[in-house]
Symmetry: C2
Subunit: 664 residues, 2 copies
């Protein structure tokens, strides 16, 4: 006889279905942060009228034993349970349910009225209790046996009910259930548990060679180390460096991406490798490996992570090209295939051929690059163009590395089509770059951040939003000037839990494109050394420092899930609430998207949703300016200078006196 | 080295994800009808800029070979393919994709402009063509080799492009792809393909013992056979009979479900089994097995399916109780556990104990009941209370039977909680009873039928809606009289592709409950023989016949997916459009839900959605009354008597003359 497909025993009557959260039917892990409570729901039921018990099982992958917590019935055959994720790494979880005959018997007994019925039910209960006693240990078993005897000896219906419904004894029985016919969900789901910085991080990107205080010479890693207090003062906690490896000399690009370099042109840091070394080498012009380790250690002292750029591609003179010609694509004319997207050509870049017969060795070598830098103390990697390398490679690499080093954070620099970005996030990337730079209107911002904060990707896709990068100088920034930069900073820092800027270009309002219609910077640092005057009066550094301090003080800003948009009557005024689930921290942010004109209008919120009494005034306290306003009801008026915003903390009255100190 | 989990070869670069439709991550089949085009979508892509090919594979489970059809790229990395389901039974389908280097090369060549580039690309193309030639057979191979030679011999860029982009040769290459690194979806999904009656059916239920034309004796299967022309004239295509087996004598219930039967009480057909036999026996009072076979054959001659009631439960004197005591639950007091839901007791019914150690034999015996009746010609089963038997049992049983007899239809009589009803549908039940009887207001009807026609269950849950059953006489029918019956009939027959009535109680407006507040009939046929005067003038039979004829003539009414609701300005007027996807058949139905008062109001439709020109009049032709009206624009007026309705076919003008004949 062929048994039903998912059960070997036909007596398994309980059913478990639709365990959530899950990604791709359990194919991919969901993501959480250490310390999070992991809430799981499931559908569970059985045939007929019997009661079931339903358990949530979980284990850290380092443990062989499963831990179980009981789930609680909600309405409509849905169950809920939760546990705390105490360790970094991967957890597994699943749900098990079984028909609980003792509980069924107890529920039915409560409803019985016929004395003959109750007498018969006492015997049935005695049998169930005796069976539980046999499953229990010595002490519980003895207590249950005594109870069972009392029950059977009871002489009238009322006595039976009184004895049978004893809560304490019932709990003892529940500790020793009959799980012979327990139903498993059939799939184990998994969770990747990261450290807090995976969820909440503030990134600052700079080119080490542009950190020299002396315009006469290029910057080094030591200069970068000297820049750390500045980065710390701005309030950033990740300092991301473009590649620090030797730069190829063959086909090197000149200033402004020209094909005609001069002898003193420094080349693009992403054209990696020369006779001086490759991906595991520090560019001699930047310093030594010791300098790098010193930088990492100094940053750590300030609670700043150094984020390393990993760009898996080679300059023509990278040692890999001679050492492992089989890792590249050779054309019939005897040349190596350079990177191209016809008619564009990137002759200074050779991509790896992941279809090489020697792919296993290539994978291992590339993983060893990460291992090398992890050994130097790096725990954050920004991976360049991951979408041009095979997905199975990333799934393997990220999983392997995070198994050994669960604290490592991978940021995917994949500015590409949505499904590809999502795939990389599903396969393990901790954070992902986004389309934020190109979402500038109110409608675009609301649509995009609604998707990011509450769309199906929320279980695995952690956005990291950047108003600019060395490759992206948007038209909005080009034409909007300082107000545009301030609006984009406020939005990034308050809409998303993780954001970053490419500086000092950002805070110094660098905004001239290479040519009209281009998003490339004129005199891009990608191709030349720049010197920046950090003291320029128009710098946004004080605003940035203030905003990052507000982020640090307000947990609502440290989580993407806390966002809901609010209505305004102006297309130039965007408003949103960020509030922790318990409402202990509730912010209302309003930004003027217009970089040219002052804008005013009415902002509408729903006071009861913020635990505000509809008929009482409440205080909004602007954390940017320290100004406080007394607001009433749903609609209140705001007026903002170009590109400026309010970051209000919303406080309800706790006493009736008209004293601001009583707002909390 | 541990390879990525889903791939054994790291060179598999294409990705296939989110193949739809699917139910429960592929755990359950979707349902379709023979002859349907099966449309499948998937996400498929690869890293980088390469082109991919994407194929939809399918096979009937009786075939070992897969058939493939190419999928077409839609936007945003989504692909679509379809195939026709030519056979009953189970199909499997899945999606495969691979990086297509030839197609990538061809796409890039189109964009190349540099002559040196193009010359180099010609060599690359020659190599790809030679590889394709080696994969091809003799004839294609020879053609490809010649083409490759021409390409390599080409002397200038224009000639290369002209030769390389030859469409015909490109198609030959596509026939011989390099599938070494093809990516599979990783799951095979399945489809259950039923005959048309699974999607579109009109059911009539009657008690054979009440079919006698002679009030002096009870009806028989021969009388039932004589009733077939009546059922046919009403337009039904499934005739459902309550159980026809011997009825238990022990604990038999009396008239109106009393515990005090007299010697001549006939008992409930659902209290199955006596000394005369059990589930494979015809009740001697109804006739013989030959009579039953004759009935099935006569019905078949009228294209009517006889639906058999399968109720897996036993009267105390069922032969199973003595023959297989291990299949029942024995209480410590030595009695068999009867059915109960405390404080209610059903002493005339013994449920099976599916947790019996002998469950395998029990399963086999119960399956043999179906097999027995299939051998007598039955292909439709209405299963009583399937939700009180284990789910794995049904999955096994339905799958086994439909593997041998894919034409068999199972209707689940599970009036229970939503997830349980859906589980039975997912596990294989062809059709399901619904909550229709208790959805009476406009709001309730819109909400429920929107869920049924477009909710997630639409891939597997086929509703069968009944205004009444022998167990359900709703308050709306009790108090609304004939107009209530007519409204509920019109709604059932036009909202759902499958519906049924319990007659002759329904058409004869039987509506007195056993007691106030009860949904049970007074003098219920469940407990006594009734005689019905089919000629009573108030009978709804002509309306029913007309409605069923309209259903037969209008494909839009034969499918649940064709429904969209329309606005009216009255809570008593419900309106909806049923239209085939190609709009060749478009109906507008309006029903007055008020059984007591005439109602009028404005009905709003969107003319362009029905392919009507917004500025031209169109005709609505009431198929119930044959009246025709000329309507204009979005809003038109209707007035309806209590419980009556319009079933309009909507016709657009094809000429400009004002002649009704030109509406189609």
């Amino acid at each position: 006889m062929k048994a039903a497909r998912s059960h070997t025993d036909g007596r398994v009557r309980a059913v478990v279905d639709r365990v959530l959260p899950e990604v791709g039917g359990g194919r991919f892990p969901v993501k959480r942060i250490v310390g999070d409570a992991m809430a799981v729901t499931a559908h569970a039921f059985t045939d007929g009228h019997d009661a079931i018990a339903c358990m949530l099982g979980f284990r850290h992958e380092s443990e062989s034993e499963w831990t179980e917590v009981p789930m609680t019935a909600l309405v409509n055959d849905e169950w809920r349970g939760e546990f705390v994720l105490e360790k970094l790494g991967r957890y597994r979880y699943t749900v098990t349910a079984w028909v609980d005959h003792f509980l069924s018997w107890r529920n039915e007994l409560k409803r019985r009225v016929d004395p003959a019925d109750i007498a018969s039910a006492a015997l049935v209960g005695g049998k169930l209790i005796a069976e539980a006693a046999n499953r229990a240990g010595r002490s519980d078993g003895a207590r249950l046996r005594q109870w069972g005897k009392q029950l059977i000896a009871a002489t009238d219906a009322e006595e039976v009910k009184r004895i049978a419904l004893d809560e304490e004894m019932s709990e003892i029985v529940q500790r020793h259930p009959d799980r012979r016919y327990a139903a498993a969900y059939g799939r184990e789901l998994s969770i990747v548990v990261d450290r807090e910085r995976a969820r909440y991080s503030s990134w600052y990107e700079l080119f080490p060679r542009s950190t020299s205080p002396d315009p006469g010479r290029a910057g080094t890693l030591r200069d970068t180390e000297a820049r750390l207090p500045y980065v710390k003062a701005l309030g950033f906690d990740v300092l991301y460096l473009p590649p620090i490896h030797p730069i190829g000399r063959v086909k090197r690009k000149g200033k402004n991406n020209t094909l005609t370099p001069t002898a003193d042109d420094v080349g693009s840091p992403w054209a990696i490798g020369s006779e001086e070394g490759g991906h595991k080498t520090v560019h001699p012009e930047l310093g030594t490996l010791d300098d790098f380790r010193s930088l990492v250690a100094a940053a750590r002292g300030l609670d700043i992570d150094i984020a390393m750029d990993i760009a898996f591609q080679c300059a023509p003179d990278h040692p890999y090209v001679k050492g492992h010609p089989e890792w590249f694509t050779w054309r019939p004319d005897g040349t190596v295939q350079y990177a191209e997207n016809p008619p564009k050509k990137y002759q200074d870049i050779y991509p790896f051929n992941f279809e090489s017969d020697d792919w296993m060795a290539l994978w291992q070598e590339l993983k060893s690059v990460f291992d090398f830098w992890i050994d130097q103390g790096v725990t954050v990697f920004r991976v360049d163009n991951p979408h041009t390398k095979p997905f199975p490679f990333w799934e393997w690499l990220v999983t392997e590395i995070k198994t050994e080093h669960p604290e490592v954070i991978f940021l995917a620099e994949a500015f590409t089509r949505p499904k590809i970005m999502h795939r990389l996030a599903k396969l393990g990337y901790t954070q992902s770059y986004t389309y934020y730079a190109w979402r500038n209107t109110k409608h675009e911002l609301i649509e995009y951040f609604t998707e990011l904060s509450s769309g199906p990707g929320r279980e695995y896709f952690r956005p990291n939003v950047w108003p600019n990068t060395p490759d992206i100088l948007t038209e909005y920034l080009q034409h909007g000037g300082r107000p545009a930069f301030s609006a984009r900073l406020l939005l990034a820092a308050t809409l998303a839990a993780s954001y970053g800027i490419y500086g000092p270009a950002f805070e110094l309002i660098e905004r001239v494109p290479r040519e009209p219609g281009s998003e490339e910077y004129l005199h891009s640092e990608k191709y030349e050394v720049r010197t920046w005057d950090l003291e320029r009066p128009e710098s946004l550094r004080f605003l940035i420092a203030r905003v990052n301090a507000i982020r640090r003080d307000n947990p609502a800003l440290q989580n993407d899930a806390t966002l809901t948009f609010a209505e305004t009557d102006s297309d130039q005024l965007i408003a949103y609430v960020k509030a922790t689930p318990d409402l202990s921290n509730a912010l209302l942010i309003v930004v003027n998207l217009d970089p040219h004109h002052r804008q005013s209008g009415w902002v509408e919120i729903d006071p009861p949703k913020l635990d505000l009494e509809p008929d009482h005034p409440y205080q909004v306290h602007d954390l940017l300016t320290d100004a406080r306003y007394l607001w009433h009801g749903r609609r209140n008026f705001v007026e903002l200078e170009p590109g400026m915003g309010h970051v209000f903390v919303v406080r309800r009255r706790v006493r009736d006196e008209r004293d601001f100190d009583y707002f909390v």
